[in-house]
Amino acid sequence: MENNSVSEKSLKERILRIIDKNSKLSVQELSVMLGNTEQEVAAAVSEMEADQTICGYTTLINWEKVDNEKITALIEVKVTPQRGQGFDVIAERIYKFSEVEAVYLMSGGFDLTVIVKGNSMREVAGFVSAKLAPMEAVLSTATHFVLKKYKEHGIAMETEQIDERMLVTP
């Protein structure tokens, strides 16, 4: 195989850039696309799975297309950091709930962004009032419900992909 124009970039990085947008590709397909052997690609993927560079393989779903309409909320949380442990302990207490989709430590007016998914507004509200707000370290919460998702993971959700090119051109 010839040298790749991007060979200076590591194989791992090149793998990640492809599977970031399409995790369906097989090791065999990746190896062909990258110009590396299957063994090299498989080894790199295993290493990245082991060291949690790759944390899982998900599917990007537009749930609005399915009856099962999930509710997503973004909750701003102010907390009291714990001496010696900062925000990590309280963040962990929060992210371990299965309802919680994502937790980010923020700069600015509040401390944690908590993304919560539920089957109904009532369910999400229940989680906030019963689990999240009463935590000792939690000072306040502000819950915002998501009304519509326009773009997620770099992909616009509702734009139809129409190939507008003429079918054959020189």
């Binding site: 010839e2 124009s5 850039r17 397909e29 696309m33 110009g35 079918l167 054959v168 020189p170």
Partner: protein
Amino acid sequence: MRDPINSTITGIKPSGIRKFFDVVSEMKDAISLGVGEPDFDTPWHIREEGIYSLEKGRGHYTSNAGLIELRHEIAAYMERRFGLGYDAVKEILVTIGGSEAIDLGLRVMLDPGDEVIIPQPSYVSYEPCTIMAGGTPKIVELKAEDDFRLNPKALLDAITPKTKVLVLPFPNNPTGAVMGAEYLEEIAKIVIQKDLFVISDEIYAELTYGQKHASIAQFEGMKERTVVINGFSKAYAMTGWRLGFACGPVNIIKQMTKLHQFAIMCAPTTSQYAAIEALKKGDDDVARMCEAYDARRRFLLHELNRMGLSCFEAKGAFYVFPCIRHLGMTSEEFATDLLKEERVAVVPGTAFGDCGEGFLRISYAYSIEKLKTALQRIERYLNQKGKV
């Protein structure tokens, strides 16, 4: 009534690709791998700059040669990418796509009877533009055994006392061939020795894989006899914006600008503003698209070779050029039959010159998913014909 049409024009064959386009267009469920333009949309920040220019009311003519700010950006680009210094005021012309620059370049250089060496298979316009400019096309065949590079010996054989211009179409559409510096050097020597001029169509310069593009203008003594043609269509996915440029010696660019002034006035203003943004901030977009093309290229080459359609390793543009000679069909028969049986459109090599016979142009300006589906159909077709 007299015939209203010029006889030179009627003598020009219509593009072979057009005929095929008409057939494909009638099939609603066809998957096409026949497109000669990027599947990516123009990066948003570039489009947004075009929109902004419209909001600002920038809908007027620009200077004939193009916005001076754009020409400065083009000069900076040619310098940083190829180490070629061009005067933004006198040596650069902004055109309506690379295709206008090809036409202008030939028209300003050719006197009646001058011969133009055109390597084929190659883009469809060199030959008719030569004829319309009053020149005589001399075709040099690019061969698979040379990896579709221009063979210096074949070039020498084609040169006569009447030869004036060599068209150099690399990276090549339709073969995907590139010519590295080590091969261009030989050609440059011949050009200088025979006192020729070069129109170097480098529209795919940014799309090379495994090696950086080299321009023949980089060789000593060549810049003053070369018109480098490039543009925004392929690198920045801006085909419909119709914007290209020519860089060359003052005397040639001056005359090209004169013709451009009379026929065109100036390239579209909106596109010019968008192009400034592309050159200033588009390097990452080009790298991203190039990486995606490269992955598809490897995939396509691997799959076609696996099916027994031997493909030389194309290292430029976004085409591969598999050979179908062993199947006992002409390119056109194969393409027509494949379209009828499996609804996959590929372009017969003959659309790019008679010597494209026995080959197909397959474009990888498509997503991997689409390529996969098309390849499955091609494989099924080959199996059914008992040709694998």
